[in-house]
Symmetry: C2
Subunit: 446 residues, 2 copies
């Protein structure tokens, strides 16, 4: 008899997981608390876009649907850094030909849902999971409806109901940590029927304790996102009235002010949303397993939230197949194998906020970037910058973090000595020595 799999949450990760497991021949039931997104208008004030990169693409290719997603993408070759005078500096993300991809969350989700339905899975919309019985793997919904499964997969996001049920259990470790900053989205309309700024970049206005970024949309708008402290002298809390808003943007983002005519209205109308990291351990109870944001939500500063969730799906299906789909043993195995990577990308994402809002505008940072680019040119197999390991490879996040820390140590040492005296070979030698020496040190899993 075909195993019955219940999936809670038809967001990005849940839909991809449904497609993948359906292809493996399972009987899939997908439950989503919201209405069918195809029947509701995507709210224009919050056209969230995401950055799809290597790990996400690999997962989409694994189920042969990347060709359906590709038309939705706008490549971004690197950071376009705006200084306070509006001067631009280009910082490529990787080698020639490497780029990340701006994509609308709404359109991506709709496309995945369509592919899911084409494969024969019907989604139960407006089905809010109320309770999970972990003993007999039963999902309970409003009005007392119950359904039993061979395995339950919780892909219901950062505020996961499945995880909240696990939180009631003894010995379930959990943390939700909010950062001091929040974000507010502002839409930049087209100018003369074209993009108001060059489209193939992630635009960024680093201003030390805060920053603005902009990603292109297919309708030739940009979604600008202000990452800003909630409290303090310069914060969402203090910047409220129209004159204040205009003079703030005039001081820090003059070029943006000129390109968003209704900026102060949008600022006042759009909400300031909070940002958090969620960790949990273990990710499973019996035959129920959490994947994606439900077990490990991260801050958005490395552009890896969705990519990590999609990679969860690819790695989970690979592991489950190797384990002959034994639903009792897969959840603990996946939880302990993947948890260190989730912790690593959570740490990397928090660190990258400081890099984006502050360091990208600094001379030292540029000098280091330049040295790293030269190292990679001279030793392309041996020196891959951290950003590239995370974004353009499928090396585990925890190994990328480990190598990145060693790279930083090596570069610190050589930059202290004065870069004139540096020989690239010496740097690579030192890196390779440390890489081997420290390779037995495990990452603490929390």
């Amino acid at each position: 008899m075909t195993d019955k799999i219940g999936i809670v949450g038809a967001g990005l990760v849940g839909s991809l997981l449904g497609i993948s497991l359906k292809q493996k021949g399972f009987d899939i039931s997908l439950f989503e608390k919201r209405k069918d997104p195809r029947k509701t208008k995507i709210h224009e004030g919050r056209s969230i876009n995401l950055a799809l990169s290597r790990r996400g693409i690999l997962a989409l290719q694994a189920v042969n649907i990347f060709d359906k997603i590709e038309p939705l993408l706008i490549p971004m070759k690197g950071r376009m850094v705006h200084d306070v005078k509006g001067e631009l500096t280009f910082q490529p993300y990787g080698n020639e030909g490497q780029h990340i991809n701006s994509v609308s969350r709404g359109r991506l989700n709709q496309t995945l849902i369509e592919e899911l339905e084409k494969s024969g899975v019907l989604i139960n919309f407006e089905h809010k999971c109320e309770r999970v019985n972990f003993e007999d793997s039963t999902l309970e919904f409003l009005h007392g409806k119950k359904e039993k499964f061979d395995a339950i997969l919780g892909t219901d996001g950062a505020f996961s109901v499945v995880r909240k049920q696990m939180q009631q259990l003894d010995r379930f470790s959990f943390s939700q940590h909010y950062i001091d900053h929040g974000y507010k989205e502002l839409n930049m309309p087209p100018l003369n029927d074209d993009f108001a700024m060059k489209p193939n970049y992630l635009h960024i206005w680093p201003r030390g304790s805060f920053m603005l970024i902009a990603l292109p949309n297919q309708d030739k708008t940009f979604t600008c996102t202000l990452f800003f402290p909630f409290e303090g002298d310069i914060s969402f809390n203090s910047l409220i009235d129209k004159d204040g808003i205009l003079s703030f943007f005039d001081s820090y983002f003059p070029d943006v002010l000129s390109l968003i005519p209704d900026l102060e209205e949008q600022y006042q109308k759009n909400p300031a949303s909070s940002l958090m990291t969620i960790k949990s351990c273990p990710w499973h109870k019996n035959r129920t397993l959490l994947l994606g944001d439900a077990s490990h939500a991260i801050v958005p500063f490395y552009g890896q939230g969705m990519n990590a969730g999609f990679e969860d799906v690819r790695l989970f299906v690979e592991m489950a197949e190797k384990m002959n789909w034994e639903w009792q043993s897969i959840p603990p195995a996946f939880s302990s194998a993947r948890k260190p990577d989730a912790d690593a990308i959570a740490e990397l994402a928090l660190n990258n906020f400081i890099e984006m809002r502050d360091h990208v505008g600094e001379a030292d940072f540029l000098k280091r970037k330049e040295l790293e680019a030269k190292l990679q040119d001279a030793h392309p197999e041996e020196w891959i910058p951290l950003y590239s390991m995370v974004t353009f490879s499928d090396l585990s996040y925890s190994e990328a973090l480990r190598l990145g820390k060693i790279q930083q140590k090596v570069l610190d040492g050589f930059l202290d000595e004065g870069s004139d005296k540096c020989s690239y070979d010496k740097i690579i030698d030192r890196f390779n020595t440390l890489k081997k020496r420290e390779s037995n040190i495990n990452f603490p899993s929390r």
Copy 2:
């Protein structure tokens, strides 16, 4: 008009808080979900005892009730370390005359409740708080009963309902982290109508990855607590059958085996309970504030959980008095002032587990202890060992942690050089230099 204060939870911290605020003239309502403990028999299988020390005593003295508590105490002058052969080594906790005090949680709580009632506060037992309305400071109970207050204080312990309500709010950071070990209590009966072991010590059987401790009770029994991994080769999970239990105790704790006749029955009957650290931030919303375990539960290995909670009460009342009892401003002020200390004692408590179960039996540890004792003799004002700063002083926990780390660095350096070459003056000089140099570094608050 007298301010109305609602306190949720009549455990140790809630009762002491009630006594203290009643003395200041407020109108106190105390709600407790359990039945009156004076009307229920204390369950003998789980006669939890705690270690009352300086900080707790100071808080009891501040409300003039320490003389009521003192008769309940059994002084413990130091650790009595049992090796596998049953050989004993005494390690004093502090100077001559310094000791910690074994006390029964149940008796202590009953005494506090009696003092509270004598002061004119009646406790509403069997009142389970169901909801807190943070906007108008209203508590809601079963059957729809509601009551509005000028301030609400949540002292309802590690599984606090008040905190769970706060967890629903945006930007409330929270973590619950379970450690790999749990604990099981075993009761050691009197021998020939007297204590079966010397009473004025905390007995400890350090065995590396696990340990047993025993604290004396006034009925001449000892409560022994086995701290043991939940999983693995030697764990609660694997040690189940009678023969296994007996042969395990015979190998690791032979002297205990001979003093607890029904050991295997107790082991099989008594539960293995889990241990966790809880952190939250902030500790307040509007006029509602969490105190004690509700905001910062810790593992028991420094014997500071109750002492930290009692110190919360003393510091809170002192601060509130200085702030003229302005209930709108006190909660955020207390939360941000006290949070670094709660984080510090959480860290110290986790570290002390490794010291207790492992290091206390090691030669290096004893050598260091000896050196520290000599340093303290030679410079009693300048070198106070970490354990004494935590246990026998009211220095803030965060400052104790900071100084303890510097002490460790200084001792590491000198022990590396060979202790023969050490001059105490040199160590003190080095300590004082680092103490000043690093005094501007704040502890990360999480």
